[in-house]
Symmetry: C2
Subunit: 549 residues, 2 copies
Amino acid sequence: MADAEINQVPPSEETKAEGEETKGPSKSELKKRAKEAEKAKKAAEKAAKQAELEAQRAAAEVDFATEFHGKLPLNQSQTRPRRPRVQIASLNPNMDGQTVLLRARVQTSRAQGNKMVFLNLRQRIDSVQALLTVTPEKVSKQMVKWAASLQDESIVLVEGVVKKSPEIIKSATVGDVELHLSQIHLIAGLEGRLPFTVEDAARPDTEIETNEEVQYKRVLLDTRLNNRVIDLRTQTNQAIFKLQHGIGHFFRDYLDAQGFIEIHSPKLQGAATESGASVFKVSYFKGSAFLAQSPQLAKQMAIAADFERVYEIGPVFRAEDSNTHRHMTEFIGLDLEMAIEEHYHEVMELLDSLFKHMFASLRETYKNEIDTVRRQFPADDFKWREGPEGTLRINFRQAVDFLVEDGVPREVLDDINTENEKRLGRIIKAKYDTDYFIIDKFPMELRPFYTMPDPEDPTVTNSYDFFMRGEEILSGAQRIHDPTLLAEKMRSKGVEPESMAFYVDAFKMGCPPHGGGGIGLERVLMLFLKLNNIRRASLFPRDPKRLEP
Amino acid sequence: MADAEINQVPPSEETKAEGEETKGPSKSELKKRAKEAEKAKKAAEKAAKQAELEAQRAAAEVDFATEFHGKLPLNQSQTRPRRPRVQIASLNPNMDGQTVLLRARVQTSRAQGNKMVFLNLRQRIDSVQALLTVTPEKVSKQMVKWAASLQDESIVLVEGVVKKSPEIIKSATVGDVELHLSQIHLIAGLEGRLPFTVEDAARPDTEIETNEEVQYKRVLLDTRLNNRVIDLRTQTNQAIFKLQHGIGHFFRDYLDAQGFIEIHSPKLQGAATESGASVFKVSYFKGSAFLAQSPQLAKQMAIAADFERVYEIGPVFRAEDSNTHRHMTEFIGLDLEMAIEEHYHEVMELLDSLFKHMFASLRETYKNEIDTVRRQFPADDFKWREGPEGTLRINFRQAVDFLVEDGVPREVLDDINTENEKRLGRIIKAKYDTDYFIIDKFPMELRPFYTMPDPEDPTVTNSYDFFMRGEEILSGAQRIHDPTLLAEKMRSKGVEPESMAFYVDAFKMGCPPHGGGGIGLERVLMLFLKLNNIRRASLFPRDPKRLEP
């Protein structure tokens, strides 16, 4: 009807030149029609909108709470209302009655009838219970139904009132309050099903084994690593990686105070260094490069370049086909090197103080996180000698004697293998009640070419390993700073000095006596917490069979 | 004579069975003779030793100071006298008259006649003048001659008395005292000649160009990098790498206080990510791996894994055959990623505060080092807007307009190339007197697939670059956290989502809105100090033509 009326409008002035219009409508006529069509379209749209609004109004009569729940549009930074949001960790009974806004994961939800739903909301290692109850004019039945239907691990934005809880809620880490929700919106949902729930992933093996009433799903390590993003969401893993951060932090903290500077040395090397067998080869434009197995050469060159005291935190690469609980093809090395004034024990003692600083700081700073990890991975507290007697230090020969006394045949002890390392750890724990000790004076044949020989006995070296719970976590030594002796030792170990000329040359230009060590970050973390597999101490671990995710 | 006497000794009891001796001396006779020979040898050795000692005593009459100078045996940690040693930086006029012991490099030595030698002793960025003068019973002529003959860059252990200097010694950084030496020993000498002196390496280009009286040796960058260990010993380089340390330190410091945790993501990747063209390929056991071009995917997965706020400092690898002043094939990325609550400007503003914190902290903490670098690389102070007006932010479109106003044809400005970037830097410096600014809202076609589109204009994105002295030092954005939109954008940029399933899957399991950025450590260092070539900001730089040292 409206269309017909519009067509009745008299022609405008622009349509006067009719002589030109023998083969169809004139240009102006076409323009007019287009205009009319546009008008018609707008009118139709208006009508449709009207109908939609009416439908919405009708729906609202049924659900008065549509604006209090539902899926939010994709956040593309459309608006910035600057409404403060809180952290679950900050909630406490003193906030009783306060309205708060927060973003969290739905760890689990449990409907009670069709009028109430309990949600366990999670942020990193913290969780709180939230409650949504049908309330006139505030919370509708539809709203409760919708909230109850949210998939576990959905990310929601909730508004609610903090209520002091009459009794401690055990299922939440913040158990003395709960949230009475007034709004709940979906920020990000899931596409598809979870490979496993975060609750299943967080359950200690002991609980799975001892609880005979419930058949729990055990999530195997490989399944976890294949779906690492879900696995990492457990409170255990959130805590583990806070401690990983802590180790790096305390390492640097201590060394900064001792006059060290942080360096960054290249991982791409022109030649296979240290030991050609276990080095990864890289295509480098028209030639090849190799991935550094450690910053050893670079940090020694930094000493020859007068930096005096340097450390580095960075990836090291080992092309070893070792599929064990404690080997990865890529891990983080905490390396340091320093000039020595008189004796390499200056380095060894600094490293020892560094470890004691790290252990004590972890225990003090991350008590809550350590307890969180313990719930999934039960373990005795890590023990070290903190008193004036100092850290236990023994020589390699003495370590061998301990093992022989314990029944290991001396003939097999040219080297101490992993099994005997652990055995030694147990012997020392029983004898000295410590999980941490140092072995000094390793035999020459067990150490790399750059290791300084002992001044009196050329079959042993000025080198040491540090141990935690019977596993090596640091290897270090005084290095050879004399180019002639260095070249000689290289040849005796089958390395041609010419193949590493840039390294040997550094010592020809004068280098002070120096020493250092390299620590495996993930090993320290694994052993401090007793995680039993190094992959648990690495965000996205790499081994001969795993390059993803 | 003694030998003859020994032969006269009567046969012992053991030589009685003479009947057996028809064909030659008996066994016991042989034994006896051997014994006698041994005795004779020992006596001869004793005599020789005697003679040697007498010769030494005679020599000592000539040089009474042998124990006060000379080459020390190779330090293999023979002894540990625990004699305190001092740092040159700690010397001051209040110590006048004190005897000190220190290890240092001989930067230069200058004999005055045969009775006196001046040494310039250096430790890291500090130096002091030392003086050795012939003194009865203390310093011999031989001692002075020996000290004067020490090669530059030798490492010595000196003992001496601190003397307040009557006038400031300009050639030393600690110019208000000098050391009057009583002992000087060589810890490590040189094998061969220095490729260039540290003094030559430290000379500013301006001095070489303007001083017409002296023909200085200019040390080219390539020569420096080939002999980086010597080059790094300049006070300039010692200072540069203290600032590098500082940048990392202040970066972490600031972020730690903002609730971030440090992560370490793998550099070995199963698939070529982001852009296949510029990725290094690695032989990985029987297959292949690729070196990460950035921690982009891992840090986003860390957000999907609920870490909320993460940063990483680590190497990134770019297989780009770019031989420019600002490209390397390996550099250190300072990366961060964080969940956002409302708007991506939360990230942009945090990054801005981070930079201002770094700039101010560098200026405060490293004044001495900045001045040291300035002497070799003259530059204006780095300027940023510190007042309440805040950092200058412009949109990409506005940046283009500035360039057009300045005479650049609009047609060439689809992207802003390096040359126009610098031009823009000059325009903005002239207009706003700042070396630091932000460009927001880059066009979609210039950004990677994971960049969130603007909510209103799909041709632009929620992304930004930060600039220092007209060069980009940070690139960042809000990322796409929705798997459907992500897959769509991947396809539109020619990346198959299936080829990066582990990454896309992370978002299917629910991921909060997030954003971040990546900073080039060496670029920040180069531009803050105006070093003009990024290789000067890297300890051992790597480019398409350089893999050593």
